[in-house]
């Protein structure tokens, strides 16, 4: 299999840019006469850039909008507002052949390897299905061979092309999902919790595979996960989401060593460290309460209801995700500071 190597494609240049992306789901009431009584603000103004060859980790707790973000990027959901630029074209306004071409370039690996594969299709049909939609990528007679190459690339036995998903373990199924995502030779792969359904010993195998494929094919990943140590391992840059917004974004080092947003600090401090001796030194920031409902987020800073630094200004003024004096990476906090007690 040949890598989509192209001299004009420079590692590090912006490949995808997302600008103020918004998705509000209506909450409706009534049977005959439906009326909208509110909005769930799943994604509420998200902006970031993805560079060629990098991995951007997206972390956040359930309900923060990270999976909706993935679905918006894939255009599985129609955004309420915002702009997504891929290869210099507006992905959200593209249609027809244009959209088809753009979609080829961005593929997705789903979370659950048990429900994301059709149990009635053979592995060969699953991995080869993208070629039905994009026949220009592989002519019909070479398809079987291409599928077998793909299985080989992800570490599966190419002879298993006629088997069904239930004949594979969870980790192997996730490899099938990865092979399907690779079929059209995309430059970007959106991974939505790709290892969270897998056992620890299998997680490492799949993470290694993703990294090896990135090196081999120059892929860019958007890697969505709630496991902060996995994200740290694989990501070049990390975005932290809370209630539909990116509250902090920066390099792996900026986020994990010099986080300035209180939510990021609390999230990092709560990670269960697998080392009892390090645990004794760990100072956990204990957040009170639960994440507020995205249907009715707090005014101003969304995090202020659980924040120990909150003052009046936080309720009134919405903090922008911009570089702060404490550390030059974007953070959405009026009182951004690097934690000094650790």
């Amino acid at each position: 299999m040949t890598a989509p190597a192209d001299a004009t494609k420079v590692r590090g240049e912006t490949i995808l840019s997302v600008d103020h992306l918004v998705k509000h789901f209506p909450i409706s009431q009534g049977v005959l006469f439906k009326k909208t009584i509110g909005q769930v603000k799943a994604v509420d103004g998200v902006s970031f850039e993805l560079r060629r060859g990098e991995t951007l980790g997206v972390v956040g707790e359930s309900g923060c909008g990270k999976s909706t973000l993935a679905r918006l990027l894939m255009r599985l959901e129609t955004p309420t507002a915002g702009r997504v630029t891929l290869e210099g074209r507006d992905l959200l306004r593209a249609g027809g052949a244009d959209l088809r071409r753009l979609r080829r370039n961005m593929q997705m690996v789903m979370q659950d390897p048990y429900t994301s594969l059709n149990p009635r299709m053979t592995v060969g049909d699953i991995v080869g299905e993208p070629f039905e939609i994009h026949p220009e990528v592989a002519p019909k007679r070479s398809r079987r061979q291409r599928v077998q190459e793909l299985l080989d690339v992800v570490g599966l036995n190419p002879e298993h092309v006629n088997r069904y998903p239930h004949q594979f373990s969870g980790g192997q199924r996730q490899r099938i999902g990865i092979a399907r995502a690779l079929a059209l030779r995309p430059e970007i792969i959106v991974c939505d919790e790709p290892v969270s359904a897998l056992d620890v010993s299998i997680q490492a195998q799949v993470i290694n595979l993703l990294e090896q494929l990135q090196d081999e094919f120059g892929l860019s990943y958007i890697f969505i996960a709630h496991d902060l140590s996995v994200v740290r391992h694989i990501s070049d840059r990390v975005a932290v989401m809370y209630l539909g917004r990116i509250v902090e974004i920066g390099t792996e080092e900026q986020i994990y060593q010099r986080a300035t947003h209180p939510y990021t600090q609390a999230l990092l401090s709560a990670v269960p460290v697998p080392d009892p001796e390090a645990r004794d030194r760990q100072t956990i920031i204990r957040l009170s309460g639960d994440v507020p409902s995205p249907a009715d987020p707090p005014s101003g800073c969304h995090f202020r209801t659980r924040c120990w630094k909150a003052e009046e200004v936080c309720a009134v003024q919405d903090p922008q995700t911009v570089p702060r004096a404490a550390d030059p990476h974007p953070s959405a906090c009026h009182f951004a500071e690097v934690r000094t007690d650790v």
Partner: protein, 345 residues
């Protein structure tokens, strides 16, 4: 600190009067249409009053089935206990009639389940569900049960407990539902609490809250805890001792600190090494090769041998005994000492 002489059985110091709870050489199999799955193959562990034992394993290792056997809530069929003993205060629960086991459930040993949403009844208020065992088992009047329920909800730190008695499970968040489950389990003041993946469905910040709560309850009430989990991070924070399960066996058993410092079984070592850590960022993660065994065809000898980097012919031929490595720690590996020394070095 270690001794190289290998004795066939672990010499666990038994306190006078025996352990509070002891599982001895338990065997459980599942009889299915496809064949017999040998899910538990000789599990032995014990729990003393007031301590926390973590049972760590991946899916299919048998950690939850062992707990279900202790509680007497195995689904039969397909599950059958094929041998062994479960001693609670010296009495073998497996030989007791169902009526006696029912008396022990809840009052002596209680359990918290992973998924609070499906473990709670959606059509009854949580106050009614927590109070059920108080009315039915402790014979309390409705008014007394209500008062005690409010106390229990306060104990597990559900805010405005008195106002929330009449709320239904769906009106609570995931973390609060797990607190309701804990309140239910504590209602009859059990001596042993079994928590089966209590925080797996929760976010990290909420997970930290629940683990704190469990640690506080254990300190304040003196309840002994069996914590069943797959998460090496959760274990490190709360447990005194840890038993690692693989293919229905305890493969390693040690004090938590000793185990994290230097695992003595290749499986434990592999698990610890496969966690992403700061010092291996940008490098390949070490992983355990291959797949967990098919329980209908467990490999000969040591069940871990097809995945083990230390494998020798003896591993294929002979089932390893628990080797005692000093400090009461054991490892079911023919090369336990070597593995331990490698990890320590």
């Amino acid at each position: 600190m270690t001794q190289s002489s290998a004795r066939p059985t672990p010499a666990s110091p038994t306190p006078p009067g025996g352990h509070l709870l002891e599982v001895r050489d338990l065997h459980v199999e599942f009889r299915t249409r496809e064949g017999v799955a040998r899910v538990i193959n000789g599990v032995t562990y014990h729990l003393d009053a007031g301590e926390t034992l973590a049972v760590l394993g991946e899916s299919g290792s048998g950690k939850s089935v062992t707990a279900q056997a202790i509680m007497g809530i195995l689904d039969t069929p397909p599950a059958y206990v094929r041998g062994g003993q479960i001693l609670y205060q010296g009495r073998d629960l497996l030989t007791r009639p169902e009526e006696e086991r029912r008396q022990i459930r809840g009052t002596e040993i209680a359990m918290i389940f992973q998924d609070a949403l499906s473990a709670l009844n959606p059509v009854f208020p949580v106050g009614w569900q927590i109070g059920e065992s108080l009315r039915e088992r402790a014979g309390m009047s409705r008014a007394d049960a209500r008062r005690r329920t409010t106390e229990l909800m306060d104990l597990v730190r559900i805010p405005a407990a008195a106002k929330r008695l009449g709320d239904y499970p769906h009106q609570f968040s995931g973390g609060m539902r797990q607190r309701v489950m804990i309140a239910m389990a504590l209602a009859l003041d059990p001596k042993v609490l079994i928590a089966d993946e209590p925080t797996t469905a929760l976010d990290v910040t909420v997970q930290a809250q629940i683990m704190d709560l469990l640690a506080d309850l254990r300190r304040d009430l003196g309840t002994a805890l069996i914590l069943i989990t797959h998460d090496l991070g959760v274990v490190a924070g709360v447990a005194d001792r840890i038993a690692v399960m693989y293919a229905g066996r305890i493969v390693e058993h040690a004090d938590v600190r000793a185990l994290y410092r230097a695992p003595a079984h290749p499986y434990t070592k592999g698990l610890l090494e496969s966690i992403p850590r700061l010092d291996v960022r940008g490098q390949e993660l070490s992983s355990i090769r291959g797949l967990p065994p098919n329980l209908m065809a467990i490999p000969s000898g040591c069940p871990f041998h097809p995945r083990c980097p230390y494998v020798q012919q003896v591993c294929v031929d002979e089932v390893p005994h628990d080797l005692v490595l000093g400090d009461g720690r054991t490892s079911a590996c023919h090369f336990a000492q070597e593995v331990h020394d490698d990890s320590a070095g």
